[in-house]
């Protein structure tokens, strides 16, 4: 529902039908993760938002830097899906299929790339910054970002495979530029 409406909603803010669909999709999402919880991209988003320096998105008051939550989560998601796909390739492919990706020729080894690609298409089309480098981070920050994410047990430990601080030190650099 999001993948078929979000781009239209941004391009045509007056289209009440797609905006209504986005509201309903957001409500479904809240019911879903209110029960199932959230995982790695969210855990990684906390230091991304917390260590903010200068970034101010368009349309926000410019008296303080901020990376909105949805933005700080989605910038990490493609790298995370490539990382977690080997734990359950078929579930990752199913998610990509639900987002409209063609998965008929995809094998288990493609699952991470296929889902990452499906996810990347949406922020790219609606003006989200291209990765952590576009909101003020560089590869030198990976160690500190990883250290900031590790205490977020509530979300880090819900990942479908174990995550070490060393893994996070690689996931952050992999999120610097996402397309």
């Amino acid at each position: 529902m999001v993948s078929s409406n979000i781009v239209k909603a941004v391009q045509n803010p007056d289209d009440e039908e797609v905006r209504s669909n986005m509201l309903l999709a957001a409500t479904f999402a809240g019911v879903g993760f209110g029960n199932a919880g959230v995982r790695l991209p969210h855990g990684m988003s906390y230091p991304v938002s917390g260590m903010i320096r200068e970034y101010v998105p368009d349309g926000y008051p410019d008296d303080h830097a901020i990376i909105p939550h949805g933005m700080s989560v989605i910038l990490n998601a493609p790298a995370v899906f490539r990382f977690t796909a080997p734990s359950k390739p078929e579930r990752h492919l199913r998610a990509a299929e639900l987002m409209g990706a063609n998965v008929s020729d995809a094998g288990p080894e493609d699952a991470g790339e296929v889902l990452a690609g499906a996810v990347i298409d949406l922020p790219r089309e609606i003006g989200v910054p291209n990765g952590l480098s576009a909101v003020g981070y560089g590869p030198d920050d990976a160690t500190e970002l990883a250290a900031g994410a590790m205490p977020q047990h509530r979300v880090i430990k819900l990942a479908p495979r174990p995550v070490s601080e060393q893994d996070l030190r690689q996931l952050f650099p992999d999120s610097m530029t996402i397309w």
């Binding site: 209504s20 209110g34 903010i52 320096r53 998105p57 368009d58 920050d141 900031g148």
Partner: protein, 143 residues
């Protein structure tokens, strides 16, 4: 007992799950019914919490009007603001500042006070939320 037969297929899973959802009301005009919903729950006094920007939006005025029409006593706090040092405690890193990622002609009528430099901001001016900005430099926020 069709349902129980169906459940037998789940026996190998070895786990039960619970699902707890808040009551959600969704639909066109649903916000106008918030006064009725409060009354239905037996609530007589409520606190509405927004930030200064959100305070100027239509949904908030609809909420306040609905509460008033239902004779619910509503207190409105409109100064939610960012507090530096959230969890995890961010550390200041010496790096060259990026050029500001802002568009030049953006409308800022809702936050004109914020264009003042920090030392020019008036503290405690009740007409806007930014004036009470006093960032905690000490311990991290609880929670």
């Amino acid at each position: 007992m069709q349902g129980l037969q169906g459940l037998q297929g789940l026996q190998g899973l070895g786990t039960a799950f619970t699902m707890d959802t808040s009551s959600i009301k969704f639909g066109v005009g649903a916000t106008q019914e918030i006064g009725y919903e409060m009354t239905r729950l037996g609530v007589r006094r409520v606190m509405v919490v927004t930030d200064p920007k959100m305070a100027q939006t239509e949904p908030v005025s609809v909420v306040m009007a609905s509460l008033k029409a239902a004779a619910v006593d509503a207190e409105w706090f409109d100064r939610v603001q960012r507090i530096r040092r959230a969890v995890p405690r961010p550390r200041i890193i010496n790096r060259p500042a990026l050029p500001p990622a802002r568009s030049a002609g953006r409308s800022r009528d809702a936050s004109c006070v914020s264009r003042l430099k920090p030392d020019q901001r008036r503290l405690g001016d009740p007409s806007h939320g930014y004036g009470v900005e006093q960032h905690s430099q000490g311990s991290p926020e609880p929670g």
